[in-house]
């Protein structure tokens, strides 16, 4: 049996009505009527009609904390994939926290292609690529754990209302999770079995983000998996 949904599924080009809240560019105002531009869910939240996109591309915004994958090393910076249409730049002086001399410093000693970093977007305006900074609490190279890719539009559901989903997963598995807005989740678990359970739980959330009773189903899934694997 199909799951019960939080609202009705809307597809591109469908009219949503005039009093619907939705983010640009996932809804467009066409002659006073909001129109969906991507597949989404039209639901009621606190007496308001809200459009939640179920598909979408991650667009960087200044202030976002993202998980980036170092792709290449330039002369004075690293090129970082942040799962967006634009490749980000992490300046070497920012990472090192001191003036940088390309003649004496070898950037590959600090970050290599394939490394993951947690960074903040400090500059971006669509006319130039995002600039990252690792100056801040908890930012920098990710040295342990595992990164799981989830659709960026499902990250709010991974977190849950008032962090309900993430708190439940952390409590039931003993793992710590950091979901970044760009669709990457950093997980650190006591062992590989629990790590696998969390990855499967995240994939379940991604597939069923728009359905009712998901937190309970994920909790049940984790309990069953733990019992089955004996962890």
């Amino acid at each position: 049996m199909a799951r019960e949904l939080h609202g009705s599924i809307v597809v591109p080009g469908e009219r949503l009505g005039s009093k619907v809240e939705g983010k640009h560019p996932y809804t467009l105002d066409m002659g006073g009527v909001k129109v969906a531009t991507v597949i989404g869910l039209l639901s009621k939240r606190d007496d308001k009609n809200v459009f939640i996109n179920l598909k979408g591309v991650y667009m960087p915004e200044v202030g976002h904390i993202v998980i980036g994958l170092v792709e290449s090393i330039a002369i004075t910076s690293w090129q970082v994939d942040i799962n967006s249409p634009y490749q980000a730049v992490l300046p070497a002086h920012d990472f090192l926290g001191r003036p940088f001399n390309p003649a004496t410093d070898d950037l590959s000693r600090y970050l290599k292609p394939g490394d993951y970093i947690k960074a903040k977007i400090v500059l971006f305006d669509k006319t130039r690529n995002p600039v990252l900074s690792v100056q801040g609490d908890g930012l920098g190279r990710i040295v342990s754990g595992f990164i799981v890719d989830v659709s960026p539009s499902k990250i709010p559901r991974v977190i849950g209302r008032k962090r309900s989903m993430i708190n439940m997963i952390e409590e039931k598995t003993g793992c710590t999770l950091f979901p970044a807005v760009n669709g990457r989740v950093h997980i650190e678990c006591p062992n590989k079995e629990l790590e696998m359970i969390v990855i499967m739980a995240l994939k379940l959330i991604e597939a069923e983000a728009h359905t009712i009773g998901l937190t309970e189903r994920v909790a049940k899934f984790i309990e069953e998996e733990r019992a089955r694997r004996g962890v």
Binding site: I9, E14, L54, V57, M59, T127, S153
Partner: protein, 244 residues
Amino acid sequence: MGGKTQVRLIDENGLRHDGRRFDELRPIRMQVGVLANATGSALVEYGRTKVLAAVYGPREPFQKYMVLPDRAILRVRYHMAPFSTTERKSPAPSRREIELSKVIREALEDIVLLTEYPRTVIDVFVEVLQADGGTRVAGVTAASLALADAGIPLRGLVAGVAVGKINGVLVLDLDEVEDSMGEADMPIAGAPDLGLITLFQLNGVLTEEEVEKGLSMAWSAIEKIVAMEKEVLRSKFEAVGEEA
């Protein structure tokens, strides 16, 4: 191999060689999310015509010189697989394929919100797996579905269909036999939600009245095909939790 056999395009009951009425579409099947590696994908069948579309991006192009400062570039490649026709088709892009790539791109450009992703490229690959007439219009339908599946903002969904003339009668959704033996072929694509025609071609000769009638037949069919597209996209999310 034997010689060419003459096919009766329309019989005494007014039915076409495959039993369809003059205004009847071939059976249409659609599937989305068929390729895991693509951002979005779709497989569309108009009768025996099978077209696969895959969308990648928006992403920074490898050739940086080609970017536009104010919008994304939509790149479309229409290609017929070597095994898509009865005789092997050379895999090299032909003049026709280059033209149809342009035509399909122009049929989609008006509905994709390209200004949301300046300096990027959106790649649409339209691969004809089996050709039996109407590949460009099936390609437009598949590309529209794949773009929606990729989560790229669209003003509306587009679908295409061809109208042709055989034995002096206007018919909808021509197959290969009708296309090659008929008198005219008029592929049309449009976005019913926007009231927009995005592709209109005519090969052969039709009178003004025939064009008008053909357009009206095509438009009703396009509305039906777009309704099918919406149903396929919706069912992907509504069917969550259903046993396979």
